[in-house]
């Protein structure tokens, strides 16, 4: 499994973000969109169709899967149809590995004072 994970790195920023927001739990399309937007401070705004393009690809690569879960029926009954997506084990491993990689980079950047250290002002 480790071999396969390393082959997937580095993840594109968009893919990383999508996987990252899924670590919190399963989400449906709109949820993912909003979480990605929040997580990136409004910088990454996905158009719905492009989100699903990425999802489709991630599913093909085995990082994301469709969830069995269906939303609790809401007043308007729309949520029933929505599909939820969640991380696969591979996906979780991949996002973890990528986070670690990014962490190593930020550590090195702190050492060189490119970004303020944790203890700095």
């Amino acid at each position: 499994m480790r071999v396969r994970v390393e082959a997937l790195l580095p993840l594109s920023p968009r893919d990383f973000l999508i996987l990252f927001v899924l670590t919190e739990g399963e989400l449906h399309g709109y949820g993912m969109l909003r979480r990605v937007e929040e997580q990136s401070d409004g910088r990454v705004r996905l158009d719905p169709s492009n989100l699903y393009r990425a999802l489709r690809r991630l599913m093909r690569e085995g990082l994301v899967e469709e969830s069995e879960r269906r939303a609790v029926a809401d007043e308007d009954g729309e949520d029933e149809r929505r599909r939820y997506y969640g991380l696969t084990d591979l996906g979780r491993a991949a996002v973890t590995a990528e986070a670690a990689r990014l962490s190593r980079i930020t550590d090195a950047a702190r050492e060189r004072r490119l970004i303020p250290g944790k203890g700095d002002a």
């Binding site: 449906h28 979480r35 719905p48």
Partner: protein, 890 residues
């Protein structure tokens, strides 16, 4: 608390214009591939709706609009990326990989049997090379046509109804036509002329005077400098000139600074403003602008139809409103338009001939190559069957075979191009080709390259197609489990037979044509020119009007020159003439004989020459009645005339023409004087032997200096022991001793120039013989291959026969008999084709008819012999087969 984005999305409250926004978004999703839309469109639209509502809640109308503006283009672009991306990533990539694999397989397959591949590529290369060479020649002949508008080009001629022949229009007529004709978009003209170039050596140049728009209309752009402008023919304009590339290279040493240089032509300085490209039409050394308004000459006029007009419309317009200037000269003159399809008419036969021969050779080469491949194709059936059993689709196998064919043909095409370039260069350098503008103009340019490429690919497809078609119908199990090698069956036998018949037919056709052309050439060469050609040397001199204004001065010059040359040691006899054979002039007019009520001939045509005293004796022309010319004849009245024997026979069948008075009236010269016949000479090939070959020789001789030229130009013909080269310097000295500025032209042995008139016939005969020899070799090789292959297939059967007691002779006869039927069919087809095609080239044959039995019989015999010889060897091998081995053979 529910995580943000979970359910509570602002969904639930419809935002204004939500329906429209969603509809627009749905429309943008069209760019996504079907699979994506099938799986995700619903979700995507839902998410968009949520987003739209959320944005509206956050930022009102502005937010909603922003959401749509943001999402729509991105959705569309994403869809495109998904579509193209999916093609690359998915099945498309697999497809490309398959083609690459097929290509690799094809290359491996070809290189695994190098001998076969080389032979096939070589055969095709020869065929393609010859076709390319022919196309290169065609480019030279037809250049500058075809060019845009070529098919709209017509030539303008004047037809004289009563006399029945056509002449060129006057310059003023062309001007009139320009003003009137609406169906004609432009009209240009040209006229040939000769001017005197003073340096480095005085010489006369043939020039073309052309209207400023002519070159442009014919699509010829100068290679350097500029073409003619209308300002060049303005009244006070500086005289300008365009040089042909050959002249620039030859006389000016390809001077890079030639533009702006001055040339003295006819004593007038002309500024060089441009150099024409290699492919400029005609062989004039220099082009000068033609001002139609001031020219009195008759010109070659060409017109181009308007894009909407037809030739008929133009003709009708002309008939309704004819220009009047021709009527001033001839009452019966009618202006006509003739469609020109490019090449000068007389070359059409040659072009057809070469084209037909090249095609025939290409077909032969293809037939041979196809035969080889088919034979190989049969043995590959097992390989193909295995591939099919392993899952390769029919289309895939066919594609791979096609690739093999195309690859081979591309290699062949490259070889062919090399062959064509080399052979054209070699042929152009050979001495016989010097006189021919066909080869010197031939070139391999980008059009020829494209043609070669197209031809290669076409033959490759054709080739690859045959085994591919066969491969598409495999009977798998039969081939997989087959023990005997009897693969082929009746289908292959017929194909082999068709191939043999085709090879024999094509070879026979080419051989027959070559034979006819060769015999025609031999006939021409064997013709008696009517005078003694050996030992004659001639040269021309023209006396410029400004320094020799009086006839007496001119005659004095000629007299002195003749005496001086006659005094030279090697010279035995010398005489004056207007032109020396084979250059001659032709007249056409009305012939009247005194004391006969009607004109003897209204369409009289004859070669004409002016002859000084001693002319007939110098040239060795027999005087059959009366006498030749005497010195006082120039001024005698009535003017004496000598006619040829054929002319005497035609117009005085029962009487002696000597003493008769005749008058020849030429168009535009109504008051011709009566002349008296003083002698009858034997027929002479004044314009080359072809003149005599085409019909009885009509020749008319006048005393030197009595015609319109009045001694301004003349030829000195001398009989000498040494050739022209050895005498040239001395002869020129004699001329320049009297006048150092006179150009001495065309100094050569008359044998050389007479032989030169047959250069085209010789070229064609040699070329066609080469083609035919090639065809015969290909044919023999083809027959040999087919018969060998057939024998190979029947090894088993032959083994059985021999084991059962058949003798060698019987086996041989068996094999040959099988080949006989297709050979017979081929001979019949070839004879028919030969007769039909030789009729097309009838204009190139002299003294021999297209259906000449001797030629046809002998070539048929040759082909039969060759075919039988080709079949003999495999037959002999079959007869020697060891029955034990044959019976055991697979």
């Amino acid at each position: 608390m529910r995580p943000a984005g979970e359910g509570g999305s602002g969904a639930g409250k419809r935002a204004p214009a939500e329906g429209l926004a969603v509809a627009l978004y749905r429309a943008a999703l069209v760019s996504y591939p079907c699979s994506f839309r099938r799986d995700h469109r619903a979700d995507v639209v839902d998410v968009f709706r949520d987003l739209y509502r959320a944005r509206y809640l956050e930022a009102g109308a502005r937010g909603a609009i922003h959401a749509v503006a943001f999402a729509l283009p991105r959705a569309f672009a994403g869809g495109c990326r998904e579509r193209w991306g999916s093609r690359r990533a998915g099945p498309a990539r697999a497809e490309a990989a398959a083609v690459a694999a097929d290509l690799r397989y094809a290359v491996r397959s070809l290189t695994s049997r190098p001998a076969l591949t080389c032979v096939v590529a070589g055969l095709l290369g020869v065929g393609i090379g010859i076709s390319s060479a022919f196309f290169g020649i065609l480019r030279g002949v037809l250049v500058p046509l075809p060019y845009p508008g070529a098919e709209r080009m017509v030539s303008v001629e004047v037809r004289l109804e009563r006399a029945g022949w056509t002449v060129e229009p006057k310059a003023t007529t062309v001007l009139e036509l320009r003003a009137r004709a609406r169906a004609l978009a432009r009209i240009e003209a040209r006229a040939g002329d000769r001017v005197l170039l003073a340096e480095p050596e005085p010489q006369r140049l043939s020039v073309v005077r052309a209207t400023p728009g002519l070159l442009d209309a014919m699509g010829v752009a100068p290679a350097a400098g500029r073409g003619f402008l209308d300002s060049d023919i303005a009244p006070q304009a500086t005289p300008v000139a365009l040089l042909s590339r050959q002249f620039w290279r030859r006389e000016l040493d390809a001077d890079p600074d030639v533009l702006g240089r001055t040339l003295m032509l006819d004593g007038i300085p002309h500024v060089v403003v441009g150099v024409l490209p290699e492919l400029a039409p005609g062989r004039a050394a220099v082009w000068l602008p033609l001002d139609l308004g001031t020219s009195e000459a008759r010109v070659n006029a060409y017109a181009w139809l308007h894009s909407g007009a037809t030739l008929e419309q133009a003709r009708e317009e002309l008939a309704a409103n004819p220009p009047q200037s021709e009527r001033d000269d001839h009452e019966d003159a009618i202006l006509t338009l003739r469609a020109t399809r490019g090449a000068i008419g007389s070359q059409r036969s040659t072009v057809l001939l070469l084209g037909g021969a090249a095609s025939a050779l290409l077909l032969l080469a293809c037939a041979n190559a196809a035969n080889l491949l088919l034979a190989r194709g049969v043995t590959r059936r097992r390989e193909i069957a295995v591939r099919a059993a392993l899952g390769a689709g029919r289309g895939r196998i066919a594609r791979q075979l096609l690739l093999e064919g195309v690859l081979t043909s591309l290699v062949a095409g490259a070889l062919g191009l090399l062959l064509a370039t080399w052979s054209l260069r070699a042929a152009a350098a050979a001495p016989t080709a010097v006189a021919l503008n066909l080869l010197s103009a031939a070139r391999i340019d980008s059009q020829v390259l494209m043609w070669t490429l197209a031809l290669s690919v076409a033959t490759g497809v054709l080739f690859g197609l045959l085994p591919a078609i066969r491969a598409a119908r495999p009977r798998l199990t039969a081939h997989l489990y087959r023990v005997g090698s009897a693969a082929g069956g009746p289908g292959a036998r017929t194909t082999g037979g068709v191939l043999i018949a085709a090879e024999v037919a094509l070879s026979l056709m080419l051989l027959a044509i070559a034979g006819l052309l060769t015999r025609s050439l031999l006939e021409l060469e064997g013709m008696d020119p009517g005078f003694e050609v050996e030992g004659l040397v001639s040269f021309n001199v023209t006396l410029p009007g400004d320094r020799y204004p009086e006839a007496s001065g001119r005659y004095a010059f000629w007299g002195e020159l003749q005496e001086a040359v006659g005094g030279m040691a090697p010279v035995k006899r010398v005489a004056l003439a207007l032109t020396a054979p084979p250059i001659g002039l032709v007249i056409a007019g009305v012939l009247e004989v005194a004391e006969r009520s009607e004109p003897a001939d209204e369409g009289f045509q004859a070669s004409i020459n002016e002859a000084g005293p001693g002319f007939f004796r110098t040239l060795g022309i027999p005087i059959l009645a009366g006498r030749g010319f005497l010195p006082e004849d120039t001024a005698a009245k009535p003017l004496p005339m000598v006619i040829s024997q054929s002319m005497a026979r035609r117009y005085w069948p029962d009487a002696d023409p000597v003493g008769a008075r005749v008058r020849i009236t030429l168009p535009g010269m109504p008051d011709s004087p009566w002349q008296q016949i003083v002698g009858v000479a034997g027929d002479v090939a004044l314009r080359g032997v072809r003149e005599l070959a085409m019909g009885p020789g009509m020749q008319v001789y006048l005393p030197f200096g009595s015609g319109r030229a009045a001694g301004r130009t003349g030829a000195l013909i001398l009989r000498s022991d040494v050739p022209a080269a050895a005498m040239a310097a001395e002869l020129k000295r004699q001329v320049w001793a009297r006048d150092p500025e006179l150009p001495v032209e065309a100094m050569e042995d008359v044998t050389t120039s007479m032989a030169g008139t047959l250069a085209m016939e010789r070229f064609l005969a040699v070329l066609m013989t080469l083609f035919a020899a090639l065809a015969l070799s290909l044919g023999i090789a083809g027959v040999f291959a087919v018969v060998s292959y057939a024998v190979g297939r029947r090894t088993h059967e032959i083994g059985v026969r021999i084991a059962l007691g058949a003798g060698e002779g019987a086996v041989r006869r068996l094999v040959i008999r099988q080949a006989l039927l297709p050979v017979g069919v081929g001979v019949a087809a070839g004879l028919a084709a030969a007769v039909a095609s030789s009729r097309l080239i009838g204009s190139l044959l002299y003294g021999i008819g297209p259906g000449d039995p001797v030629t046809l019989l002998s070539t048929t015999g040759l082909v039969l012999l060759a075919a039988l010889a080709a079949a003999w060897l495999p037959a002999r091998r079959a007869a020697r087969v060891d029955p034990v081995i044959a019976l055991r053979a697979e």
